[in-house]
């Protein structure tokens, strides 16, 4: 028997099939959570946004018309949640290293001398995964979200373009820049570890 599509599952849930929601939920729970976590950079906030996103899906399931793919809809909700969150954080006026200076394209972190991995990390055997995580966290928001949607959920460039609201070619460029930055970050690691 062929697997039901996301849209079919959501429709079934709207008609009262809780099992359909469960299937849908298990398809997306891990990539969505990781997208949110890497996007906001804080596990606690990611948990809140994760819950809020699914709550909205539950509330609006009946409104889903199937004009877009479920994944597009889900990640649009999640991304909007992240943007709202960031907007709220701006009120706090806490200078963040991820913020870009007015008129500048690069986040402040780009202008801070790269100290490389901390000695204790090197001595303690900081894993490649940790370093990749740090390199991803250091990416600018627009590149990071494209990278995460592509890497974690395996979404197509046109779908990512729909989610972030830019042309597909811009998405490809952002992905390429993100990979180049990661590449540099990992080169640093290789240099420091010999």
């Amino acid at each position: 028997m062929s697997e039901r599509s996301d849209e079919e599952l959501l429709r079934a849930y709207s008609d009262g099939d809780t099992g359909a929601f469960e299937s849908l939920f298990h398809r997306y729970r891990t990539p969505l959570f990781n997208f949110l976590w890497r996007r906001v950079g804080d596990r606690g906030r990611a948990e809140e946004l994760y819950q809020e996103t699914w709550t909205k899906v539950i509330e609006r399931a009946g409104e889903f018309r199937g004009e877009a793919k479920f994944s597009t809809w889900l990640y649009t909700i999640a991304r909007n949640g992240c943007i709202d969150h960031q907007r709220k954080m701006k009120y706090r006026r806490h200078a963040s290293l991820d913020e870009t200076e007015r008129g500048g394209a690069d986040p402040k972190i780009e202008r801070v001398a790269n100290p490389g991995p901390a000695p204790d990390q090197l001595a303690g055997g900081a894993t490649l995964r940790d370093r990749i995580g740090q390199a991803v966290a250091a990416l600018p928001d627009d590149q990071r979200e494209v990278f995460l949607l592509r890497q974690l959920q395996g979404l197509g460039f046109s779908e990512i373009a729909d989610i972030v609201g830019v042309p597909a070619n811009t998405v490809k460029s952002r992905m390429r820049y993100a990979l180049e930055r990661l590449q540099h970050g990992l080169d640093d690691l290789r240099e420091h570890t010999g």
């Binding site: 849930y13 009262g16 099939d17 809780t18 929601f21 469960e22 939920f25 729970r29 891990t30 959570f33 990781n34 976590w37 890497r38 596990r43 606690g44 948990e47 809140e48 994760y50 819950q51 809020e52 699914w54 709550t55 539950i58 509330e59 399931a61 709220k88 009120y91 706090r92 490649l128 995964r129 940790d130 990749i132 995580g133 991803v136 990278f147 890497q151 974690l152 460039f157 490809k172 992905m175 390429r176 990979l179 180049e180 990661l182 590449q183 990992l186």
Partner: protein, 323 residues
């Protein structure tokens, strides 16, 4: 294709989205620099695939699945459960209303037993009483006529058409009298219906039947009042019970419950967490929505201390106070 174009296409080639894969391959074969870029990009993608993946907390997953399940459940909750779930203030209001109705009904019953008078609410009951009295009078009159006919059967008086027609005439007179009373009632101003009715009651011609009829009337009136009281109580319950909540209200409560849960969790886990005035206002409103007035007041008070949220927080506090 030149090297610059090739560099732009390298990524697309790896992602199998290149518009000119042959052209890129040709450049890669002859240009070591482009080849190095290609290899670096492949290495970056391979490394990115090793990005650590975290699992969301199981308790949040359970909460989400429970919420999803609750969404598909029918809205109607059994009455007894709704009653138990009703907030204490609603229960108190219902109890107060029931006591009020009870207290209010006592003097009304006494009034019916004694002199009829007072507010116009009982017009309907008095009208019913009137009808009962009239029926009783008509019945008594008819019985009197029949008794007379039975008592004087041997009298040599020929049966007149009037006597023979008496029961039929009486039957005809009853609706006529009812209509007359109805007209009178309609003409009587509502503000003072009791005076007119009581005068009519005083004019009741069957003096002998009056005490027993009055007793019957007072019993009937008591029964009606008791029934009214029960109806009022049922209405009060109906008003207090959470009738299938509108969808948007339910959504608002769900969103608030989620926000409050997250907020409280954050408050517990982050020692340095200091909510912004906007957050204080939002959470105060959410507590209000969820019926926790104490916490709502605490956070709204805090939000009212800040210039940006003072006005809105004060308004919310006023609404809270009004409830």
């Amino acid at each position: 294709m030149n090297c610059e174009e090739c560099k732009e296409q390298v990524f697309e080639l790896i992602e199998r989205e290149s518009v000119d894969p042959e052209g890129v391959h040709a450049i890669l074969e002859r240009c070591p620099e482009c080849r190095a870029d290609f290899e670096a990009m492949k290495a970056a993608l391979a490394a990115a695939a090793q990005l650590a993946v975290e699992q969301p907390p199981a308790e949040i997953d359970s909460a989400i699945l429970r919420a999803a399940e609750a969404r598909t459940e029918p809205n109607v909750i059994p009455f007894r459960r709704r009653l138990l779930q009703a907030p204490p203030w609603a229960m108190a209001a219902v109890a107060l209303l029931a006591v009020g109705v009870g207290v209010w009904s006592i003097p009304r019953t006494v009034q019916f037993e004694g002199e009829v008078g007072g507010a116009g609410r009982e017009t309907k009951d008095v009208a019913a009483l009137e009808d009962a009295i009239a029926e009783r009078e008509d019945f008594d009159q008819a019985r009197g006529l029949q008794a007379k006919a039975i008592a004087e059967p041997v009298a040599p008086v020929p049966a007149t058409p009037t006597d023979e027609a008496a029961p039929a005439e009486l039957e005809n007179r009853v609706p006529a009298r009812r209509a007359s009373r109805a007209r009178k009632r309609a003409a009587t101003p509502r503000a003072a219906p009791m005076g007119a009715d009581s005068a009519e009651l005083e004019e009741a011609p069957s003096a002998a039947a009056a005490p027993s009829v009055k007793a019957a009337e007072s019993q009937a009136a008591s029964r009606r009042l008791a029934r009214d009281e029960l109806d009022a109580q049922a209405d009060a319950y109906a008003g207090a019970k959470p009738e299938a909540e509108p969808d948007d209200k339910r959504k608002e409560r769900a969103v608030c419950a989620s926000k409050v849960a997250s907020f409280e969790k954050r408050l517990r886990s982050e020692r340095r967490y200091d909510p912004t005035p906007e957050e204080q206002l939002a959470i105060g409103r959410c507590y209000h929505t969820l019926g926790d007035t104490k916490k709502a007041r605490i956070w709204l008070d805090r939000a009212a201390e800040h210039g940006a949220t003072r006005k809105r927080a004060s308004e919310a506090l006023e609404r809270l106070g009004a409830e």
